[in-house]
Symmetry: C2
Subunit: 334 residues, 2 copies
């Protein structure tokens, strides 16, 4: 089916869950894109336990909070974070207004088409590119810029819209959790305002349930009307140790389930795992070089090394993408 | 009725609203503690408009977000912010562990019972007291400290629990909005973690819908278990220009209704008012020296000066507590 139909189907599930008055067919597989196996069964068992009022593991609905990393957990992240493609495209678009970029790194390399050279400057170069492309406008303007880009930009390898490169099994998991009274959140190292304009449509996750990295903003009156101006100054980095900090700050209670794919998610999984009562922690392990990408301990993007060891030691669920996922992307069902 | 019963009654309203499948008696007054008049009517008209699918003012449920200041809007704030009573009590409790406080201001004055003298040091003194009492423990420990204090501390003038000094008309308003598909948030200058332990029980507002001022926290492993340690360093001040910043950061979309009582809420009301489509802005004006307190332009706590002028110029709803509220506190109905 086409992507528009996938969205429509997701919306129907969301509406049914929201209405809460309709019965769900009892024998329907809630996770049809998951192969039968330990990973799928662990999810189904956990949800059955926490929603069974007679179980000692029962969790009241307000405490059914599940947090999801985004890059590599809900959508793909290779050959680099999709937000970097956005930033690079923005540099090209803005270049005519910045003649100085022609001789200034990392912009000069970028404009010559040498992205690798530009990013050789490491974190500092990346931060310069992000600030030059994500700051200096109002929040309303930035939202429009993201909406416009995400509606047409295509992935260099697949030629697909980035929002088509979301994981079908995870869309089903999000819907399954919500239909069981869970509130689903994104907790991502990615930019919070880069995600919010499209997460509701693509994942059924509204802006207020998105936690991410962000820059500072400043309230200002312009022509008698208030605006929030985006400043070139980091406010919060929602990665590694930052994820539990972000969860406490933005959600204010400990989730009972967390889903990630990299060492950047490890502290989040540790944090939710240390709470009382039933807990569920899951890592997506990218093992399918044919249908997607295969990477873990040595990858510069989405490295999964310490996390894989800890998952095995603690008995967390590890999804083997090649074995566990029948389908990767929604467009495979077209 | 006793407070426990008031809470129970509130819970029933919340449950009915959450279920969403039950019909509400059409002729029942949703705001029985509000006297008939312009303020009450403006609320009822706004809610009728945005929930009427045939109205050009219709707003889809996900966008029905309403934000409420806390101090002076949902509960009282005189003779000083209730959180300051908490801080002063904590100084007394912690004094035996801090012999140096006996000769160090602002603690020395405080411990001699001279709160006014201690606070004469202004913002700096207040910040010192807050940091000494709100930082240095884990988030889990602080939550317990707040829960314990709020369950027994009494207001010096009324002898009531602080959570009994919430405004009955505002409890009805919160429930009325939620039963019409609104998501209700607190956006307060008060400490976010000082509010979260009790807002769900008292207002029906869960921790994830509380925005407030906060200090930084740090992720740490202690004995193999992760904790978040509260640091004596301001992270965010959710007041004045900070309120729209906090709303964008934590909610990520512009609310359509905002409720406040002081100049500290002015930018929040301006921000929501500047959005497209139907908007509702309301100020609670404290005019009842007999049943509560009367204060506005000259008050050091909850000053309402510029806001009052702007409300009149822009036609925002201004609640005259003496005229508009039949009842102030739930315990008056006992």
């Amino acid at each position: 089916m086409r992507l528009a139909h996938a969205f429509a189907a997701t919306s129907v599930i969301v509406l049914v869950a929201a209405a809460g008055c309709l019965a769900v067919a009892p024998n329907e597989d809630p996770l049809p894109s998951w192969n039968d196996g330990k990973a799928k069964q662990s999810i189904i068992d956990f949800v059955a336990d926490v929603t069974d009022e007679k179980s000692p593991e029962f969790v009241p609905p307000p405490e059914r909070i599940a947090v999801f990393d985004n890059d590599g957990t809900l959508w793909a992240e290779q050959p680099m974070y999709f937000q970097m493609f956005f930033a690079l495209d923005r540099v090209k678009t803005l270049a005519p207004q910045h003649p100085e970029w022609r001789s200034k790194e990392p912009f000069a390399s970028l404009l010559k088409g040498d992205a690798a050279g530009a990013l050789a400057g490491g974190e500092h170069a990346m931060l310069e590119i992000v600030m030059a492309t994500h700051a200096g406008m109002t929040t309303v303007e930035f939202e429009q810029i993201v909406k416009e880009w995400i509606s047409h930009a295509k992935h260099p390898a697949t030629g697909r819209l980035y929002t088509e490169m979301v994981y079908q099994p995870m869309l089903e998991l999000l819907a399954f959790l919500r239909s069981n009274g869970f509130k689903t959140y994104i907790v991502s190292g990615g930019g919070i305002e880069f995600m919010r304009p499209w997460t509701e449509k693509v994942y059924g996750i509204p802006p207020e349930q998105v936690v991410g990295s962000g820059i500072k903003t400043k309230f200002e009156m312009r022509g008698g009307s208030p605006v929030l101006v985006r400043l070139p100054e980091l406010d919060f980095v929602d990665d590694k140790e930052g994820k539990p900090v972000g969860i406490q700050q933005r959600i204010g209670r400990r989730p009972i389930a967390a889903f990630g794919n990299s060492d950047g998610d490890l502290q989040m999984l540790q944090w939710i795992g240390a709470g009382e009562g039933p807990r569920f922690a899951l890592y997506v392990h990218h093992t399918d070089a044919e249908r997607e990408w295969a990477y873990d301990r040595e990858s510069s993007v989405g490295r999964l090394d310490k996390g894989l060891d800890e998952a095995r030691a603690k008995g967390w669920t590890v999804v083997d993408v090649k074995q566990d996922w029948k389908v990767i992307y929604p467009f495979e069902n077209e």
